[in-house]
Amino acid sequence: DAGVTQSPTHLIKTRGQHVTLRCSPISGHKSVSWYQQVLGQGPQFIFQYYEKEERGRGNFPDRFSARQFPNYSSELNVNALLLGDSALYLCASSFTGTGVFYEQYFGPGTRLTVT
């Protein structure tokens, strides 16, 4: 069975640009969460979507937005990129939307570098 997939693997953008990251959850999983992991730190929660609705939002500016599609895949959008947005962006999926700490399966991440 395929795990969580993310695209692209790596991305280099310039300050002020916009970026879209994509995630496909494990088949049958309806919940997708996004995390940002800055080098040397633990992942920080950005969003959770369940059944195409936002169910949780972390402490990130409005430049960050996301959505979930009918097939449960998800996109994370970041506008007006800053140097500080350089990080590994992780997507995680789970079967149920109840209790985020129910076992989540993480993808390999997208490494975003902002120059």
Binding site: V4, S31, Y35, Q41, G42, P43, Q44, F45, Q48, Y50, R55, G56, G58, N59, L88, L90, C91, A92, G97, T98, G99, V100, F101, Y102, E103, Q104, Y105, F106, G107, P108, G109, R111
Partner: protein
Amino acid sequence: LAKTTQPISMDSYEGQEVNITCSHNNIATNDYITWYQQFPSQGPRFIIQGYKTKVTNEVASLFIPADRKSSTLSLPRVSLSDTAVYYCLVGGDFGNEKLTFGTGTRLTIIP
């Protein structure tokens, strides 16, 4: 949000049992305790989750005292492949709080 505190790093020899303790003094009644393992350039991988007392699976054990203000992840007979960062995560139902991983413990296994 229940803040967690873990040792920054630990070293252990192959074949030994490793115990990593996480402190979470402000844990709420409905919070669960979950541990994840992360290798470089990979996403975290679920290890174990518990609410109270002891939980054991094929990979690890999780010990939670009665006051639930701390928890200990126990890895039996570690090998070099257990070298990774281990995160303690505390939280409850989704959407009710901001969720974040702990500081993480960088475990290095020495041959």
